[in-house]
C-alpha cells in the first residue's frame, strides 16, 4: 500500500534556501541544558542528528567530515601522541583517531552530556571510539578546558560547527589563542571553517580566517563536499605552528598504514587545498594581501 503522507525536515541554510529531507520517523526530541536535540530517520541520509534545527551529521555523509578532519593532520604531523577534540560529542572524530596506534591519549571535551548519550544510543558506530581506553571524555566548556593547558597537545580539533549557539566561544580570538598555547611547538589545530558560499556565512568565514591567520604562523583552508552541510560545500581550517599541510605532507608514510577510507586519499589531500578563486580572494583579503 502506498503511503501518501509525507513529512519533510527543513534545515534553512539562508533566509531563501533550505535543505529538505523527507523523514520516515522522528526517533528523539529533547531540549538539553544547552540545545534542542532531534534525531530523525530518513531514506536519503539514514539517521541524522539535528541540533537547534541544523543538521549536524547524517549516517550517509559523516564519513567525509570525519576522515577529512582526522587524516589530513595525521598525514602531516610525524609524531602524534596526544590529541584534543573540542565539541566532539558525537564521537566520530575520536573514533577516527583511534585507528592510529601511536596516539597515546585523546581528550574529548563536550559540555552537553545529554547529546553524548543520544549519540551513543542512536549512532553506536559513530561513538564506538568512546569505548577505546585512550579516549577520555570531559563534560565541560571547551574554552575553559583549553585555557589552562600549555604545551600539551600535538593536534587540537575544534569540532564545533555553529558560531551562534552555545559554542560561540569556540570561534573567538581568545579560543584560538588558548589553542595556540595548549599546542606543542610543532602542534596543529584543525577547525570547522564553515561554508563561504552564502553571504550570511561568508562574514563568519572571513572573521575566522582573520583571527586564526593572526594567531598561527601557518594558516590554510581546505575543502570537502558534504551534502548535508550548508550549500553542500564545507571547509576546514589547518592552523599550524611548524608543519605546512602540503610541504610537510608525507603520502608514503600515510599509505603504509593501510587505513581504510571512503573519501580521503593522498591525492585528495593535496587537491583539497586547491580552492576556487572566489574563496582564495576572500582569504587573501583577510590576510591583507591585494588581489
Amino acid at each position: 500500500m502506498k503511503n501518501n503522507s509525507e513529512i519533510w525536515f527543513s534545515d534553512s541554510q539562508t533566509e531563501g534556501a533550505s535543505l529538505n529531507i523527507r523523514v520516515t520517523n522522528q526517533l528523539y526530541h529533547a531540549v538539553s541544558e544547552f540545545q534542542e536535540i532531534d534525531v530523525f530517520q530518513s531514506e536519503s541520509f539514514g539517521k541524522f542528528l539535528v541540533l537547534d534545527g541544523e543538521v549536524i551529521f547524517s549516517e550517509a555523509d559523516e564519513f567525509i567530515y570525519n576522515e577529512m578532519v582526522v587524516h589530513v593532520p595525521m598525514a602531516v604531523h610525524p609524531n602524534v601522541k596526544k590529541v584534543l577534540i573540542i565539541g566532539g560529542g558525537d564521537g566520530g572524530v575520536a573514533s577516527g583517531f583511534t585507528a592510529y596506534s601511536e596516539i597515546e591519549h585523546i581528550d574529548v571535551v563536550e559540555p552537553d552530556e545529554q547529546m553524548v548519550d543520544v549519540c551513543k544510543k542512536f549512532f553506536p558506530d559513530t561513538t564506538k571510539g568512546f569505548g577505546d581506553e585512550r579516549v577520555e571524555v570531559s563534560y565541560q566548556d571547551g574554552l575553559r578546558f583549553v585555557r589552562s593547558r600549555e604545551n600539551e597537545y600535538d593536534i587540537i580539533i575544534n569540532d564545533a560547527t555553529d558560531p551562534f549557539g552555545h559554542a560561540e566561544g569556540l570561534f573567538t580570538k581568545e579560543f584560538y589563542g588558548s589553542c595556540f598555547k595548549a599546542l606543542k611547538s610543532d602542534g596543529i589545530m584543525v577547525y570547522q571553517h564553515g561554508s563561504p558560499f552564502f553571504d550570511d556565512e561568508e562574514s563568519i568565514f572571513r572573521s575566522m580566517h582573520r583571527k586564526v591567520y593572526r594567531t598561527f604562523p601557518i594558516s590554510r583552508v581546505y575543502q570537502a563536499h558534504i551534502p548535508t552541510c550548508s550549500s553542500g560545500y564545507w571547509t576546514f581550517g589547518f592552523a599550524s605552528k611548524k608543519y605546512h599541510p602540503i610541504e610537510d605532507f608525507d603520502p608514503e608514510r600515510w599509505s603504509a598504514r593501510n587505513i581504510e577510507t571512503w573519501y580521503y586519499t593522498p591525492q585528495m589531500h593535496g587537491a583539497s587545498f586547491m580552492l576556487p578563486q572566489y574563496v582564495v580572494d576572500i582569504l587573501h583579503e583577510e590576510e591583507g594581501k591585494k588581489k
Binding site: D141, L143, R144, G169, F175, G177, S178, K181
Partner: protein
C-alpha cells in the same frame, strides 16, 4: 513584602487592556501606533510602538498618579521595603537630583564623598547648595576610593554642624560599601537627612548574602537604577522614601523638571522588572553571585590580574563588598584598565562596563550566561599571553580633594576666562572635569586647581581615558573664574 500582590503588574495589565480596546488615537504621540513612521515600526516592532502612548485616564499620569501608576508605585515600595516609591523616567540622575533638591536649598550644606556621581554635583549647581567633601581612603594596591568612614563623617559634622544632609554611595561603582547603619544612625543623631545613591544597588534588596540595602539601614531616601542590575529599560529608575520623608513635597520637587509625557515603555519595564525581582530576584541574583565569584576565581588563577572581592573588607573603609561587581585590577600585566578595555572590545568583541586607569569592570547581571563568562576569562588569559608588558608605575590622584572656594552654582554662572591648562594652577575652576566612566569628578566648578590635579588630568588624557565636561574636549584649555585667584 506581599508575595501574592507582587504577582500583579497593574501598569502592564492596563496597557494590555487598552491595546485590546483599539481606541482611535486623536492624541499624541503623532506616530499613531507606528503607522505614521513605518521605518521606526520596522526597527522597534509593532508591539513596542503600539504601547508608546500618552497619559490618559485608563493609564494614569505620572505627574500625579491616582490609579494604575499609583498602584505600581505602591507595589514598588512594598517590594523594596520602602514607605513610598516613585517611578522615574529621567534616569537615576533625575532620582539623585530629586533627593538632593528635596533636602537642601541655596547656601545650605550637604556632606558628600568625593566619588559622587556627576548628577549630585549638577544638582548642587541647580539648587545652590554647598558640598562638604568627606575624605576617603584610597586602597594602596588597587588605587580606588574606598567607603565613607564613620569617624570621617563625625568630623565633617563637627566642622559643619549646620549641614542638612549626607549622601552615601551604596555600593560605589567598584562594589565598596560603607557601614551604612552606623553612618545613618550618626547622621540622624545630628538631625541630618541620609540620602543613598544606590545606582548600583538594586540587587542588595533582593539577594541573599549581599551588603545591607539603604531602606533596611533606615536611610531617608534612596535612588535605585532599576535599569542597571534590575533589568528594566535604559533611563528607567526608582526613587524610594523612608518613613520620615514627605512624599507630597518630593513629588513637587520631581515635577519641577520631570517630563509631562512620561514614556509608557519605560514605566511598563519598571512594573515588570519589579514583579520579576519580587518573585524571582533571590534565585536570579544567587546565579549572578555564583557567576561573579566563579569569574573572580578563574581570573585570579590566570595570574597577574587581580579580581578583587570580599578580602578587601576591613571593617571600616571597606565595611562590606558587593560581590556582584566584577572589577579587575590590570596594572600587574603592565597595561592600564582602559588599554585592556579597548583590547577586549577591538580584538575580542567583548564590551566591558568601563575601563579606567587601573581597573576594568564587567557588569554581571541577570541576563548573563556562563559561556560568556568563559569568553571573558579566556580573553583576559589571551591578552596576558600576547600583550603583557613590563610593569609600569601607574599613579593615582583619586585621593586629591580640591578645596571648595565658591559654591558650584555661583561658579557655574560666574564670568570665566579660558587658559591653557598648564597655566591654571592657583585658579578656581569654572567647569567640570571628569574621567568617564565612572563619572567621578576630578574638578568641579568652584574648586581650586593645583599642579597635582593638572598632572592627573594630563595623565588620564595620555592614557586614553574619556575626559568629559569641559568646553574644550581636548583638555588643552580649562575655564577658570575671571579674576579670582585662590
Amino acid at each position: 513584602m506581599n508575595t501574592e500582590m507582587q504577582k500583579r503588574a497593574p501598569l502592564c495589565e492596563a496597557l494590555e487592556k487598552f491595546k485590546k480596546k483599539r481606541v482611535v488615537p486623536f492624541d499624541v504621540p503623532g506616530h499613531k501606533r507606528g503607522r505614521g513612521n513605518p521605518e521606526l515600526t520596522q526597527l522597534l516592532g509593532q508591539q513596542c510602538v503600539g504601547i508608546d502612548v500618552n497619559s490618559m485616564k485608563p493609564l494614569d499620569n505620572l505627574c500625579n498618579p491616582v490609579s494604575v501608576i499609583a498602584e505600581a508605585e505602591e507595589l514598588m515600595a512594598d517590594a523594596f521595603g520602602a514607605a513610598h516609591a516613585f517611578l522615574m523616567v529621567g534616569g537615576t540622575t533625575s532620582a539623585v537630583q530629586a533627593m538632593v533638591l528635596s533636602v537642601c536649598k541655596a547656601g545650605e550644606k550637604i556632606i558628600v564623598p568625593r566619588n559622587v556621581h556627576k548628577s549630585v554635583i549638577n544638582a548642587l549647581i541647580i539648587c545652590g547648595a554647598i558640598p562638604v567633601y568627606v575624605k576617603l581612603k584610597i586602597h594602596s594596591v588597587i588605587g580606588v576610593a574606598l567607603g565613607m568612614e564613620v569617624e570621617a563623617l563625625r568630623e565633617a559634622i563637627r566642622e559643619n554642624p549646620d549641614a542638612k544632609a549626607v549622601l552615601i554611595n551604596n555600593p560605589t561603582y567598584y562594589g565598596i560599601c560603607s557601614d551604612l547603619k552606623a553612618l545613618t544612625a550618626l547622621a540622624h543623631e545630628h538631625g541630618l537627612k541620609v540620602l543613598c545613591d544606590e545606582a548600583h544597588g538594586t540587587q542588595l534588596y533582593f539577594a541573599e548574602g549581599l551588603p545591607v540595602a539603604g531602606m533596611k539601614a533606615g536611610v531617608d531616601m534612596a535612588a535605585i537604577s532599576m535599569h542597571k542590575s534590575g533589568g528594566s529599560l535604559t533611563q528607567s529608575s526608582v526613587l524610594l522614601l523612608g518613613e520620615n520623608a514627605d512624599p507630597a513635597y518630593v513629588r513637587q520637587i520631581i515635577n519641577l523638571v520631570q517630563t509631562t509625557s512620561a514614556s509608557y515603555l519605560l514605566l511598563a519595564s519598571l512594573d515588570l522588572s519589579r514583579r520579576n525581582l519580587a518573585l524571582r530576584g533571590r534565585e536570579s541574583f544567587a546565579k549572578v553571585i555564583e557567576m561573579s565569584e566563579y569569574a573572580r576565581k578563574e581570573i585570579n588563577e590566570i595570574g597577574d590580574y587581580y579580581a578583587y572581592g570580599r578580602e578587601l573588607i576591613d571593617g571600616s573603609s571597606v565595611y562590606d563588598f558587593d560581590v556582584t561587581k566584577l572589577c579587575i585590577f590590570t596594572k600587574p600585566i603592565g597595561l592600564t584598565g582602559i588599554e585592556v578595555y579597548d583590547l577586549l572590545r577591538d580584538e575580542y568583541d567583548i564590551q566591558m562596563e568601563f575601563g579606567d586607569i587601573g581597573t576594568i569592570m564587567a557588569y554581571i547581571s541577570i541576563g548573563d550566561r556562563m559561556q560568556d563568562i568563559e569568553r571573558l576569562v579566556g580573553a583576559l588569559s589571551d591578552i596576558r599571553r600576547l600583550y603583557k608588558k613590563d610593569k609600569e608605575e601607574l599613579s593615582y590622584v583619586d585621593s586629591v580633594i580640591p578645596k571648595v572656594i565658591c559654591s558650584p552654582q555661583e561658579s557655574f554662572y560666574a564670568p570665566k576666562e579660558t587658559l591653557p591648562i598648564q597655566e591654571t594652577a592657583g585658579r578656581v575652576c569654572g567647569e567640570s572635569v571628569m574621567c568617564y566612566p565612572p563619572g567621578i569628578p576630578i574638578l568641579s566648578p568652584g574648586e581650586k586647581i593645583t599642579e597635582e590635579i593638572i598632572g592627573h588630568i594630563l595623565y588620564a588624557r595620555e592614557k586614553g581615558c574619556s575626559l568629559q565636561g569641559m568646553a574644550d574636549p581636548t583638555a588643552d584649555h580649562l575655564q577658570v573664574l575671571e579674576g579670582v585667584h585662590a
